[in-house]
Assembly symmetry: C2
Homo-oligomer: 500 residues x 2
């Protein structure tokens, strides 16, 4: 490597170290921190975020980028080095628009907001959370103006999760997806009695749920020597390096599949992060390509694999041994129950079909909040009304309504659409994998997940953030993002289950 590249990597290594430290602080905040620690933690996180930002947007980064760009201009444009310069330059230009003081303050505000949300949610106390959310929305409205002019006020936020993607593209995808989903929901509603999911309800020991989840994680390839699982109010995955990638879960004693499917979801994220090439560690490339690509991995393992018949053919005997309640429940009954489609209140518990409607609702609300068309004080009412309109269910309280997700409290606006993009991408990817690897389907039938993981590592994980999501998708599938395969997947799967 040339001198400027060596220096650039060392410099960016320090930025990555600070980001990793911030991630440890956040992980601790969400898992083990005693309540008294909140204020000092908000301060520490704010200072760390400010210093990280300052270092990233420093003149030194600019100088090293320029020198390194000159040195890599003749090299392979797909090399780690050329891509490092390109990705860093993009992030550098983006972050330089934001004042460091804003970053520090926003980190402090959202840290306190998260702690408050953790209290407000179980108490269903929106009034407690409201001033914090108001501040977050106000600051996000400041944030987007750093990027003016923009096509959509949502673009600068989306860009933080889906580099290069425009809100118009999301709207276009959703405009195809929505009628197809509504049609499916209607078809299924007419046959609602065809699936009975009462077997999933009961009283299920948490330690057994934990143990079964851990066994599934190991089977799909999650490496506990380079990660761990803990509990938190809202499940998440975080990475301090490809060798320390952690997930969290939480339990519902009354729903046997809830923690498990959440664990598999986070496991999918974690496999991505654990699979990033060691050579990319401590650099801006040691991330996923985008949040949509990340969700494609979590949603693939959770749904395409974890809710498939073949998955449960493998795991059901062990599941029955763990939970004696299922001794006399046939596999087919369990499989159908696990895939029952019902309009419901909680996004993370939603079935594959209605799930995306939860996302569209949040996307619309975020847009309205940013545009100033909706005030935070009116949010719970509008939330409930939209839930009623889209899904025909009315949240009995805010805990099961507007307070259910952690995202806004942490300052994440613009994230939600990536879940649906992930759903869409997941089917494009799995279809390609199945087409390219003739033995993959039978491997999955046998519970051999190594070949799927190998394909994902080779085609996606190891590249980290070298390629932006659209480019990566095109390299792998030859196609742009398109919702048709996903719609077809849903029609086939649920047509079979519901008989249409």
């Amino acid at each position: 490597m040339t001198n400027a590249l060596v220096e650039l990597k060392a410099h960016l290594g320090e930025v990555a170290d600070l980001s990793a430290a911030a991630a440890v602080l956040e992980w601790d905040q969400l898992t083990y921190m005693p309540r008294g620690g909140a204020e000092a933690r908000a301060q520490a996180s704010a200072t760390l975020a400010g210093l990280t930002h300052e270092k990233l947007i420093s003149q030194r980064t600019g100088d090293l980028l320029e020198a390194a760009a000159g040195e890599t201009s003749t090299s392979d444009s797909d090399s780690d080095e050329a891509r490092l310069v390109r990705v860093t330059r993009r992030e550098y230009d983006r972050q330089r628009r934001v004042p460091t003081s804003w970053v520090g303050e926003f980190t402090r505000v959202s840290s306190i907001a998260t702690t408050t949300w953790e209290k407000a949610k179980p108490a269903s106390d929106f009034a407690l959370f409201r001033p914090h959310l108001e501040r977050i929305v106000a600051m996000r409205r400041e944030y987007v103006e750093f990027f003016a002019p923009y096509d959509s006020i949502y673009d600068p936020l989306l860009d933080g999760f889906e580099p290069g993607m425009k809100t118009a593209e999301v709207t276009a995808v959703f405009s195809v997806l929505r009628p197809a989903l509504v049609d499916l929901v209607h078809k299924i509603a007419e046959r609602a009695g065809a699936v009975d999911d009462r077997c999933l309800q009961g009283d299920f020991d948490e330690a057994r749920q934990w143990d079964f989840g851990v066994q599934v994680l190991k089977r799909i390839g999650y490496d506990f020597d380079r990660g761990r699982q803990d509990r938190s109010a809202h499940p998440f995955t975080t990475s301090f390096s490809p060798d320390d990638v952690r997930i969290t879960t939480r339990f519902h004693r009354d729903l046997v599949a809830s923690a498990l499917m959440s664990t598999v979801h986070e496991g999918g994220h974690a496999l991505y992060e654990q699979g990033i090439a060691p050579a990319l560690a401590r650099s801006p490339l040691a991330n996923g390509a985008s949040h949509g690509m990340h969700e494609s991995q979590s949603r693939m393992w959770e749904n395409l694999i974890g809710r498939s018949r073949s998955f449960w053919k493998v795991f059901y005997p062990q599941f029955q041994r763990t939970f004696g309640e299922f001794a006399k429940v046939p596999l087919e009954t369990f499989y159908r129950a696990l895939n029952k489609v019902t309009p419901s209140l909680i996004r993370v518990e939603a079935d594959e079909v209605t799930y995306n409607l939860h996302i569209m609702l949040r996307f619309e609300l975020e847009l309205a909040l940013l545009q100033g068309d909706l005030a935070v004080k009116d949010l719970p009412g509008v939330w409930n009304q939209k839930m009623n309109d889209y899904l025909g269910v009315l949240p009995p309280d805010d805990a099961q309504g507007v307070l259910q997700d952690v995202h806004w409290s942490g300052g994440s606006m613009g994230y939600f659409p990536t879940y649906s993009l992930g759903n869409v991408i997941s089917v494009q990817l799995l279809n390609t994998a199945l087409a390219q690897s003739p033995s993959l389907a039978s491997d999955l039938d046998r519970g051999e997940y190594g070949s799927l993981l190998g394909w994902l590592r080779e085609n996606i994980h190891r590249h980290g953030a070298k390629f932006e999501s659209p480019e990566l998708l095109r390299r792998i599938t030859g196609e742009a993002l398109t919702p048709q395969p996903y719609i077809q997947y849903l029609k086939t799967k649920f047509g079979e289950i519901y008989g249409f």
Copy 2:
């Protein structure tokens, strides 16, 4: 407050934030980090330590200190502000002697060394740990030279733990303590059969040990809303702010009192940190006065309180209910067992009399390593020989010998003497408290620890690091550090138990 003071406090607040972040990283490393995370953690910790150092020794600190010193020159010399300037100036001058690059590298080296020690200790594999310790000793020898000229090569290290104290003073205290202890050990050895501690050995459920320890912690005043307890290979206390002070413990199933007394010890440290005045938070004053003063708190709660007859009069009935094995063991038998004096291998398990001999051994070895009189490769042999000379016991392996303590792996050389200084101070303090508060003795007899804690908070804890340890001790007791009260305490207590 004046302008410079406001700015100085904000600036030092950021330094404190970075130190807190580093402490979170270290806590995580020692409690939950998966083994794969070690290398990235060492890097992140090193970067954080370097930035913290850079910020502390920056010209800006110097300028603000100067301006603030001018502004506080006419104010009360005991005010928080005047003391902040004084303590920060001392630390600034000290840290400026050390290159930031050394700080980063030493942090990286000791982080990896700690991880390696955690593997080497259970395997009793000194060869694995040796190169890491060699590097640490070599770097500590570099470190002391930043402070040349010095009276003793040990002074610059001791000064990091006991601000302003000289090695000659430690030697003087030890020279009084040693013959008194040796004399006591001999007297007790002649009556060794007088105490039987077999009741403490058995097989004791860890969950019960945990629960009983937590109850004791609550009774002595540890606030779990502003702290928590976890497990680690070596127990420790860490503080991220006075509102987030955490302790760790570990269990020996075969020794009922081991985890408990360790828990009370760390609880004593934690009470100190939780008691620091909120006004001192996020500043260099939000620390203990010295490590010796800190150990005076932990050793006071562990020994003067936790191994006293009155303590167990209060807790023994509950202890007997928790551990049925003691149903027929009289309180007096238990009390005597808990205080049995026996030369033994492990410092943290040692009785109050022989404990200090473990410390003196380590102090001598550290001095020899620094002076170059002892090579790391010869350390296990010399350790074992000294154990045999001083205590008449020979470690069967290095796990029970030179590998038993975490300190050297973390780079801490110069720390060990503070345990004995703490023992000495603890008796001076408790004698003063008893003299000043006529009801204290009866409160302790009744298991009312609030009045002792209140006295400690008022006289010690709330001041944080405002006063250096010798000054604080003199303010409270009117005396300098002197080993006589401690020796008298030991003679009285163990004379009564052993009948001489």
